[in-house]
Symmetry: C2
């Protein structure tokens, strides 16, 4: 399975990351292309091709290419419908364009699905049958493994955990979806929540209200920071509880920056789930951190690329 | 497929319904055994066997048996863990007991899954790939068809739509799951909601606050009854919205008594979904009434029984 190297291209709003991969391991350095320095698809695709060519010169047995993109795609047709935070990428036949330019079998997938697939095949979701993956960052994304396969849904739009509602009377979501989870626990919202909690506690808020710093503070015993993570666990727990009642998974994998919070997030989260689920849903459920950080997308799509060769 | 008749046994808290089925059609009268008149599993199973024997005398080519039960089961082992509203049914090897007594291949399934399967194979979910079925009654149940197959989850507990939360600050659910959908739109809760709305409007509430009567009143133009269904649509819509973001189904099928409300429920429900979903999730989504009423369970489990013969 991991004998033949493939290429992973993780297309993000800030940078496009490219690396050669064998199994779960990067075998090259991770190349980065700043997404915004290239205007529109054509220039970016040319730049991607250049980097790919130079990686293929070093690893001539690279046999397939996987691309993960942030946003809605048609998986079967290999078309990007609309990329989040990247303008000009509507209705681009990206899979076929790359396949023609590079001359290797190519697969195009949504980035959250790539992360879920990496965790399922090589990481924290390995060996489980039904895995719900959540990635916490600027927004909240998700991917589902059901009966041992990536579940894409009827229009390849499944897994949008961040758009699920935790409160029908809550704040507006981006699509009129009131109470959308990501409007409570996106990175910025966690910072705002923390600012409010420090204010309420009559304490000066720290300058740095990033999830990373708030998790360091909580681990060091800062009570306000601890309370912030408890609130995050309340929102995330409410959404995961609904997800678990619907899907009865055997594993939940949580990745992205916020997941680094570790015990300060995971201990209250586990407790809240235990106190709101039936035993059938909770007893055999494994709740864990993602194994992969910023390489998850590359590893997921390069794994899918590798599987193209066996299909 | 529908050439060989099978038996469907729909086990409910009030009565056990039994009929012979070919395809989507009952070919016998529906027999009823009052569940509570027989104490414990042994007496009930004897009574079931009597009815089955008399049906087999009339239809000697009956070749398999399906049983649907209200509550948690182990599908693979054919064991009832715990039946809702029926005492004394914990850890009963019901599938094997029936199979031994009757001498025909037997399948045991959760009743909400049976209803979903009936709709998928013969009813409103036919021809779709990913179907979410919801049944509204005393409680709220659900069943999922994903990629053309019944999705059971890791412990056969998937599809518990009624336990999903629509409000993390909401009323307590039966398992500590605050904001559980069924605590808002179960039959009794709809009656209470209506009583409150008539009171708020300064009107005398009708004696009969059943979903059936409230739907008749709404269709006749009673503004309070119309408002009741709009509120029901708000709760149900919030939960379905989350379900749709997670699973991106191509069909939602709504059954059970409340579904008879018809347009007074479906028109606001469709509008709320349209206004809270992305186009990828809404544009190709079909929202429809269940085809089957109180025969859904029998038809679903007898269809599963028929498929045993091809396996």
């Amino acid at each position: 399975m991991s004998d033949i190297p493939t290429l992973g291209i993780d297309f993000g709003g800030t940078s496009i990351k490219i690396a050669a991969v064998k199994g779960a391991d990067l075998i090259s350095d991770m190349e980065r292309i700043p997404t915004q320095q290239h205007e529109g698809p054509d220039a970016l695709i040319e730049e991607i091709k250049k980097r790919v060519d130079s990686l293929r010169a070093k690893f001539p047995d690279i046999a397939a290419v996987g691309i993960g993109v942030p946003g809605a795609i048609d998986f079967e047709k290999g078309i990007t419908y609309n990329l989040t935070n990247v303008r000009g990428w509507t209705n681009i036949r990206l899979r076929d364009i790359i396949q023609e330019k590079i001359g290797l079998p190519t697969v195009l997938e949504n980035d959250a699905n790539c992360m879920a697939y990496a965790e399922f095949k090589h990481g924290a979701g390995k060996g489980f049958r039904n895995v719900v993956c959540v990635t916490l960052g600027t927004g909240v994304g998700g991917g589902l493994i059901l009966n041992g396969e990536l579940f894409r849904g009827s229009r390849f739009a499944a897994g949008e955990i961040g758009q699920m509602s935790v409160d029908l009377y809550g704040v507006d979501g981006p699509y009129g979806n009131r109470g959308a989870l990501e409007r409570y626990i996106g990175n910025r919202q966690i910072g705002e929540l923390a600012a409010q909690k420090y204010f309420d506690a009559g304490k000066d808020a720290p300058e740095d209200l990033s999830p990373e710093n708030l998790s360091n503070l909580a681990e060091a015993g800062d009570e306000v920071a601890v309370a912030v993570w408890d609130t995050v666990a309340t929102y995330l727990g409410a959404c995961l509880m609904s997800t678990i009642y619907l899907l009865n998974p055997d594993a939940i994998v949580i990745g992205g920056g916020v997941a680094h919070a570790g015990d300060v997030l995971f201990i209250p989260l586990r407790e809240k789930l235990k106190n709101s689920l039936t035993r059938e849903c909770f007893d055999d459920l494994t709740l864990s951190h993602a194994r992969f950080g910023n390489t998850a997308g590359i590893i997921g799509c390069s794994t899918m690329a590798r599987e193209l060769l066996d299909a």
